[in-house]
């Protein structure tokens, strides 16, 4: 096999892989779930818009730590969790400038219902 032919084969394979990734973007539904937790309300909306991308839609964890079922043990006092959301910690960004105090309270309350 000549070098040019080898490059052509690699190019076709890469194109196929690229198409596979595009298909997967639309076909690969997220796993996990939030059990019987309410999927509406202000806390849920704030969570989906700001937290789910790292902590997972059901709080199962991912890029960020798991929240479902453990956040109340990690933060027995809800205000401690509020402080982390507001000020950030380690790789978690601060939401001081993007969420209001009420939204932070709502989303913290929501995360504490995740099972």
């Amino acid at each position: 096999m000549t070098f040019k032919r080898f490059v052509n084969v690699v190019e076709i394979l890469t194109l196929v892989v690229a198409l596979g990734f595009v298909v997967a973007l639309f076909a690969n539904e997220p796993g996990g779930g939030s059990g019987g937790v309410a999927k509406s309300g202000p806390g849920y909306d704030v969570y989906l818009a700001n937290c789910a991308r790292c902590h997972g839609q059901g709080g199962q964890g991912g890029i960020g730590l798991r929240l479902a079922g453990v956040v109340t043990a990690d933060f027995p006092d809800a205000q401690e969790e509020v402080a982390v959301v507001r000020d950030g910690r380690a790789s978690m960004p601060s939401f001081r400038n993007s969420l209001s105090a009420t939204e932070i309270q709502d989303v913290v309350a929501y995360t504490r219902t995740l099972k």
Binding site: F3, K4, F6, V7, V10, E11, T14, V17, A18, F21, A24, L25, N28, P30, G31, G32, L48, N50, A52, R53, C54, H55, G56, Q57, Q60, G61, G62, I63, G64, S91, P93, F95, S98
Partner: protein
Amino acid sequence: MTASTAGPVTRASVPLKLLAIVLAGAAVSIALGVYGHVHDPTGEKPYTLFFSDTINLKVWFATAALFLATIQVLLALRLYDKIHIPRAAPSWLGDAHRLTGIVTFGLTLPVAYQCLWALGFQSTDGRVLLHSLLGSFFFGAFTIKVLAVRTHGLPNWLLPVVGGTVFTTLVLIWTTSSVWFWREFGFPSF
């Protein structure tokens, strides 16, 4: 006679070709940006391959992509006779340039997929917003480059400009992700 009649047709078609290529690239960038914005980010780690964590995979793949892209730029400089190492350009230089570009693109795919599918288009701070914008822009610019390579009759300056833009964008993407990761969390393990 033939040249005088063919000339105007060619000149007139060049802007149209350029417009079509740029529109195709813009469509890719916009489509990715829109997907990242409307898709509910999963926050999941779809794969780690032989790495200990997805984020480590992303940092190393992005770094490898940048390394290969740098080699590709050097090969392009040799193709355009801007550098003279090696003194005699080997016949396989063009294919090597293509191969490094293809592999670079391939390395960006799992990184971009995880970004889009698990994280989405974010604007929580300036770095993240810039990274999201650059990530969407990169694949549009890459599309323009690939189409420009395969379209005849385009201005000679187009490929170097688009290629330089793609490379610069990749450098900025890497800076706003891998370099940030190194500074925040240290050198990533495998």
